[in-house]
Amino acid sequence: MIKTDVVIIGAGPTGLFCAHQLGIIGLKCEIVDNLDKIGGQCIELYPDKPIYDIPAVPECTGEELTNNLIEQIRPFNFNFHLSDRVQELKNENDKWIVKTLNGKEFETPNVVIAGGVGSFEPRKFPTKSTEKYDGKSVLYSIKDKTIFKDKSVVIFGGGDSALDWAIELSNSSKVTLVHRRDEFRGAPASVQKIKELSDNKTIDLITKYSIKDVKGNGSLESVEIKSESGESKVIKADYVLGFFGLIMQLGPIAEWGLNLDKKTIPVNTENFETNKKGIFAIGDICTYPGKLKLILSGFHEGALAARGCFKYARPDEKYRFEFTTASSTIKDRLGVKE
C-alpha cells in the first residue's frame, strides 16, 4: 500500500501541471496513466502538431509541451505508474483506497481525476464472435512474437502497426493482411514493402474487405471476411490481429458513483471537487458552465484543485498563498539556489 497526499489519474497536460502545483505547495502525489508514456492526448494523438494557444508559448508541439511539463515537475521526483489503469475507488475511514488493474494500491485523502475523455484503449473488432478469443488468439497488441512462428496470422488494418507487423511476421508465419480500402495510411516505405511482399506472394494482401465472423471449435480456426457488395471469403487463421488505433473509453470512471453529464464530471469552480469529498476532476473530463476544453483551462483547474487537496492532506495547517518569485520555501522545494 502506497500512502500519499494525492493520487492523480491521468498524465495528460492537466494532470502534469496539477502535480506541479501540488509540489509547489508541499504535497506529494503519485500519477497513474493507462498509456505507456506521459502526455495524454498531446503525445498520443498529436505529438508533432504545433499548438499556438499556450499562454506565453507562441508555438510548441504536443511532444515539446509534454517534455516541458515533465521538466517543470522534475524537482519533485513524483512517481509515475504507466501502463496501468485505475479501476476502483473506495472510501475507508475518510481515506480513499485506489486500486489499479495491475494490483497496485494507494491510500490517500485526495484523488484528482485528470482523465481526459477516458483511458486510451485499442479499438476492437465490431464482431461479437471475436470476444471469446480476445487475448488468446484475437489480439490487439503483441507482447511475444514467437507464438506466431509457423502459424497462420490474419492481420487487419492499414496503419503503421498493421503494416510493420505484417512485414515482421511474414518471415516466420503465413500472413494475410486485410484492409477496408486500397490506400494505406502507414509510412510510404512500409506500404512499398507490403506491395513487394504481396507481388512475390510472401503475404496475401486483401483490400476492400472487413471482418465478418470468426469460427473455431474451442480454438480459433478461421476468419470470414466480407466486401461491401456482400461477397465473403473464409481464411484459415490461428491468430487474428486487429490494429485500428486507440479510442478513449471512460471505462471504470463511470462506476465510481460520481455524478456524470454525458462523458464528463460536473464540478464546482471553486476547487473542482466533485459530488464526492476529496475527489476532484480537472481538464477535459470536468464540466461546469462555460467550460472550454483547452489545455490552458486545465492548468487553471489544476492549480485550484491542488489548493483544494491541501485542506484534506494537511487538516491542521493553514494554506498560505505565496509567489514562486518571492518564497524561499518554494525555492527550496524546487531545489533552486539563491
Binding site: 494523438l45 465490431p126 496503419g159 477496408r180 472487413s210 461491401e228 488505433g245 479510442i247 478513449m248 476544453k293
Partner: protein, 107 residues
C-alpha cells in the same frame, strides 16, 4: 443555415437547424442528438463522429474528404465507402436537406 436530419441506428429521426460555419457534428452535440460522441471535439483524431451518407446524390455533392479523413475513418466503428466524419462536414446553405445515418455505435 441548413436543416440537417440525423437518423439513429435504431431509426429514430432528429431534425436540427444548424447555423452556417458549424460542423454537422456540432449541430448534433448542441441539439443533444444522441449517436455522435465526438470525443476529440472536432480535432479529426477520434473517429467517434462517424456517420453514413446513404443517399448517393448527397455523397457526391458533399465537399471531398480532406487529407487524413479516410485515415481516421479506418479507425472508426464499421466504416464503409459512404462513411464520413461529421466534424469535417461544415454547414452552409448548400447542405440544407442533408440526411446522415449514425452507425450502431461509435466506440
Amino acid at each position: 443555415m441548413a436543416k440537417i436530419k440525423y437518423i439513429e441506428f435504431n431509426g429514430t429521426e432528429h431534425e436540427a437547424e444548424v447555423a452556417n460555419g458549424l460542423s454537422v457534428m456540432e449541430g448534433a452535440i448542441q441539439n443533444d442528438i444522441p449517436g455522435i460522441d465526438a470525443d476529440c471535439g472536432g480535432g479529426m483524431s477520434c473517429a467517434t463522429c462517424h456517420v453514413y451518407i446513404n443517399d448517393n446524390e448527397w455523397l457526391k455533392k458533399l465537399p471531398e474528404k480532406e487529407m487524413g479523413e479516410d485515415d481516421m475513418l479506418d479507425q472508426a466503428y464499421e466504416p464503409k465507402s459512404n462513411s464520413r466524419l461529421s466534424c469535417q462536414l461544415i454547414v452552409s446553405d448548400d447542405l440544407n436537406g442533408l440526411t446522415v445515418h449514425m452507425p450502431e455505435k461509435q466506440v
